[in-house]
């Protein structure tokens, strides 16, 4: 703890509170443990919402109404690049969080800028994929399969967009307020959110794209 506070002061940050000494024995849990737990429950409810859409997609995936099927529409090269973007953005997000935990603002800015660029690349690829599908007459109104596909993948895309907004806001807040406790708690929640989006993308990649493209 003392070494911790000393480093914090060296780095020009306000001294840390007792919050950093993770739960030892009795007494109330440290704030960040409670905050992370509450946010984790939100993430699980989000995942349950996605599971309803996954179930819808699984039921409707064969109902193409004479329209194009996943085999004709999905381009796996595209999906592979999107997967890599999201995976590496998750990694840089984790590194950025570690950097600000250690009061290294430079490392934090570099990592979060990379996270933003990779997330935005993912979003751009997804938008171009959707635009291409709609342009060839395979929009969400074409068949039950495509309605389910667009709602499921589109909802993930909306989450990524919201994540990018949150990332921008948190980077500005960290720049304005420095690595204070509440800023780092919010960044912890953001990184949990970003990693959870990656988990949902893994399910999308395997169960929607890879199985659908066969």
């Amino acid at each position: 703890m003392s070494a911790h506070a000393a480093t914090a002061q060296l780095a020009g940050a306000p001294p840390t509170t007792a919050e950093n000494t993770a739960g030892s024995g009795g007494g109330p849990a440290p704030v960040r443990i409670v905050v992370a737990y509450g946010f984790w429950i939100f993430l699980l409810s989000d995942i349950i919402m996605f599971s309803a859409l996954f179930a819808t997609y699984a039921v409707l995936s064969g109902q193409t109404a004479g329209g194009p099927s996943g085999r004709e529409l999905f381009q796996l090269r595209h999906v592979g690049v999107e997967t890599l973007c999201l995976l590496f953005s998750s990694y840089t997000c984790g590194l950025g969080f570690l950097a600000i935990e250690r009061r290294r603002m430079g490392g934090f800015y570099v990592s979060f800028a990379l996270t933003f660029v990779l997330g935005a690349t993912f979003l751009g690829l997804e938008i171009s994929e959707f635009a291409g599908m709609i342009a060839r007459g395979a929009g969400p109104s074409r068949s039950a399969f495509l309605s389910a596909f667009f709602s499921l993948v589109g909802l993930h895309g909306i989450h990524v967009s919201a994540g990018l907004l949150w990332l921008t806001f948190m980077t500005l807040q960290a720049a304005a307020k420095g690595p204070r406790d509440f800023v780092r708690r919010r960044l912890l929640c953001f990184s949990l959110f970003w990693h959870a989006l990656d988990i949902i993308w893994v399910a999308l990649m395997s169960l929607v794209y890879l199985i659908g493209a066969r």
């Binding site: 995942i47 599971s51 590194l95 950097a99 990656d198 893994v202």
Partner: protein, 129 residues
Amino acid sequence: MKERSPAQAGSSDQLPGMGENDPLGSFASYTLGLVFALLLTGASFLVSQTHLLWAPGVPAGLAVLAIAQMGVHLVFFLHISTGADNTNNVLALAFGLLIVTLVVSGSLWIMANLNANMMPLSTILEMQR
């Protein structure tokens, strides 16, 4: 403040309480998670694009690889562990998994059953005449 690359930020010096046992993870755990996730993603693409697996078993193989990769993400990125601070998180995860399983398998079961019991469309049209 000096600029540092993200790679340096993790590996150079380790503060006390920020080492391997820290519940919030370390540079090593993130890197290990990335490597595992890349391997599993590669395996998924390999399985789906080649005839490595028996063809009817490919969806099951992909599902297993996906679940494994989600586990890697949970442990290495979201830091769900068996630590004392994590009991509540693990219990919430278990409950979430229960609901997800019920929603997905229940929907598939009910809809498959309805499909199996449904009259063929031609018969319905015949009856409406």
